[in-house]
């Protein structure tokens, strides 16, 4: 019972560590445009869920003004998966690679207002107690935006780690460690999916051999069964069920799934099919962003 505590939050009990550090409030502006990089130009979108507005741009936008140095390449995209009905589009997402100098690979992934920064160290030396004789030891550290990491973070770390273990070719680097560190910069819904995407981009940036890329997609089901992809924080709160899937790029196989709420078997299949369609767009974005990066250099 030493690590139990309960914190209110609409009646939901959260198990958090009793040791809490006093953390200064991070003054993150909810408007995506106002972030750390001055020359960062990102298109805003109408945030209210289920908007039926036609998207003006499909594919990567030419945001030349965002270039800061040669090593930092940005790619921008707004996507709309096929005709699935209103509110079934992904939010605007953006990715930036190689922004940190110390980790072997780093990436920042932005989905709407949710932003996660990932850093990858590896293959590096591993502690003998954690060493595996025939493959690499993967470690994931997820740090929340405020407070100390708690039990929920541990649970998410396990999910992300198992997803990475499924795709990373650990056998090529036995007795080494590959560490993925994720820092939540802002959380506005679909956090786990954003973490997965950031982790994948960071692993690519680090040059870790993988058998496939992976992406995370979140679906929310509201009380009348309407499906929403990539929900915002408000939509997640009001939804009856929130399902997060990790899919691989080769055959859109299901790598990881975690769900919250009650739903039926048919709804699960429906969400999975929608997630697979949405993942096509995410992978296309990955490809474009990597193409832009390597074609410039």
């Amino acid at each position: 019972m030493a690590f139990l505590d309960f914190r209110g939050g609409s009646g939901r009990v959260q198990i958090v560590s009793k040791r809490r550090a006093t953390c200064g409030r991070h003054s993150w502006s909810p408007r995506v445009g106002a972030c750390v990089r001055r020359t960062h130009l990102v298109r805003k979108r109408a945030l209210l869920g289920g908007s039926n507005k036609p998207r003006l741009h499909v594919g990567s936008g030419a945001m030349e003004g965002a270039m800061q140095t040669e090593s930092k390449i940005r790619a921008d995209s707004r996507t709309e998966p096929g005709p699935r009905g209103p509110g079934c589009s992904l939010r605007h997402f953006a990715c930036e690679q190689n922004l940190l100098s110390r980790p072997d690979g780093s990436a920042s992934f932005l989905q709407g207002d949710t932003s996660v920064l990932a850093g990858v160290y590896g293959p590096a030396e591993v502690k003998i107690s954690k060493e595996i004789f025939n493959k690499a030891t993967l470690e994931v550290i997820l740090r929340p935006k405020t407070g100390l990491p708690g039990v929920a973070e541990k649970s998410r770390e396990r999910l992300i780690r198992n997803t990475c273990e499924a795709v990373v070719l650990g056998a090529l680097h036995p007795r080494t460690s590959i560490t993925v560190v994720l820092q939540v910069v802002s959380d506005a819904g679909s956090l786990l999916a954003c973490c997965l995407n950031a982790a994948c981009m960071a692993l690519v940036d680090a040059g870790v051999p993988m058998r496939a890329l992976f992406c995370g997609v979140t679906c929310a089901l509201d009380s009348d069964g309407t499906l929403m992809l990539d929900p915002t924080a408000k939509q997640e709160k009001e939804a009856r069920a929130v399902l997060t899937f990790a899919l691989d790029s080769v055959e859109r196989k299901l790598l990881m799934s975690t769900t919250k709420g009650l739903y039926s078997d048919a709804e699960l299949q429906q969400c999975l099919a929608a997630a697979q369609t949405a993942s096509t767009h995410v992978f296309r974005f990955y490809r474009e962003s990597l193409q832009r990066r390597y074609s410039k250099s």
């Binding site: 019972m1 030493a2 690590f3 139990l4 309960f6 914190r7 209110g8 939050g9 609409s10 009646g11 939901r12 009990v13 959260q14 198990i15 039990v151 929920a152 541990k154 649970s155 770390e157 396990r158 999910l159 780690r161 198992n162 997803t163 990475c164 273990e165 499924a166 399902l243 990790a246 691989d248 196989k253 299901l254 790598l255 990881m256 799934s257 975690t258 769900t259 919250k260 709420g261 009650l262 739903y263 039926s264 078997d265 699960l268 299949q269 999975l272």
Partner: protein, 298 residues
């Protein structure tokens, strides 16, 4: 038992009597820690020296069984281990249960205490689960702060309680905004032989059904709570979620209720929690390849 044989056979040498009693213990059909005999069928592969193969090449050993659609302990691929439940054994707890899934043993004790309801939900109580995987249950765990597996299991149980709405949190409220029940559920694993999540969910459900809360009235004059220990009532359990865990072997085979050895050898695990109406409360699949989406239809 060993002591009685020594005193009874004073004239005979110790080592002649001990082996026979040892044999009786292991073949007697009692499930001792570490030996599960299933239905008494103990398969052994024909080729080579069996004992060496199990420790040296465990995966190959398992594959020989899986080809015959069975497992080393005699179970079919879709067969659960013998489940035993004992309810209400802990007198000091408000509700308790002991669940054994084969050799996996989990004990759940629930204590009800008073607490203030959260400010944003003044008419709700709390249910606080905690899974404790101590060094007693497996060599893998060390004493100290909860390790990753314990924390993941605690989070899983918290999610199951939240998602399945097993009890209405409003039932736990005594006085809106001032006093509510807090149920501390401690799930302690005594023996870890795989499939800890199923055992914990089952133990929690059994213990919650066993919980008896005394009647509490708020005295208007003194504004103190008066507990009437003589009048106790059971909790209103709305749904009965059941967890089923599977181990995925070689991306193609699904095995129900894996033992610890099978969990280590498997390429992945999958846990599904369903309630009586067939609604899914939780689909927990922490990574590794899955054969196809259609396999989820079960």
């Amino acid at each position: 038992m060993r002591e009685t044989t020594l005193t009874s056979s004073t004239s005979t040498l110790v080592h002649t009597t001990l082996p026979s009693t040892y044999q009786k213990e292991t073949l007697g059909g009692r499930t001792e820690g570490g030996r599960s005999e299933g239905k008494g069928r103990i398969f052994s592969p024909v080729i080579g020296s069996t004992v060496l193969s199990r420790t040296v090449e465990p995966l190959e050993y398992y594959r020989r069984f899986l080809k015959e659609n069975c497992r080393p302990d005699g179970r079919e691929l879709g067969e659960f281990r013998t489940t035993t439940v004992n309810v209400g054994s802990i007198g000091t707890a408000d509700g308790s249960s002991l669940v054994k899934l084969g050799n996996t043993t989990v004990i759940c004790g629930i204590k009800a205490e008073f607490g203030a309801p959260p400010t944003d939900a003044p008419d709700k109580g709390y249910v606080v689960p905690n899974v404790d995987l101590s060094p007693l249950c497996s060599w893998r765990f060390r004493s100290g702060p909860p390790g990753e597996e314990a924390q993941v299991a605690s989070q899983f149980i918290a999610d199951v309680i939240e998602n399945s709405q097993i009890i209405q949190k409003e039932d736990l409220c005594i006085s809106s905004g001032k006093l509510a029940w807090v149920l501390y559920c401690d799930l302690i694993c005594l023996n870890h032989d795989g499939n800890i999540l199923d055992a914990c969910t089952f133990a929690l459900l059994a213990a919650l059904k066993n919980v008896q809360l005394p009647e509490v009235t708020i005295n208007e004059e003194t504004a103190l709570a008066e507990v009437n220990l003589k009048k106790k009532s059971y909790l209103n359990i709305r749904t009965h979620p059941v967890a089923t865990s599977f181990a995925v072997f070689d991306d193609t085979l699904l095995i129900v209720d894996p033992t610890e050895e099978e969990e280590h050898l498997a390429t992945g695990t999958l846990t599904v929690v369903m309630d009586e109406e067939g609604k899914l409360c939780c689909l927990h699949k922490p990574g590794t390849h899955f054969p196809s989406v259609s396999v989820l239809n079960m």
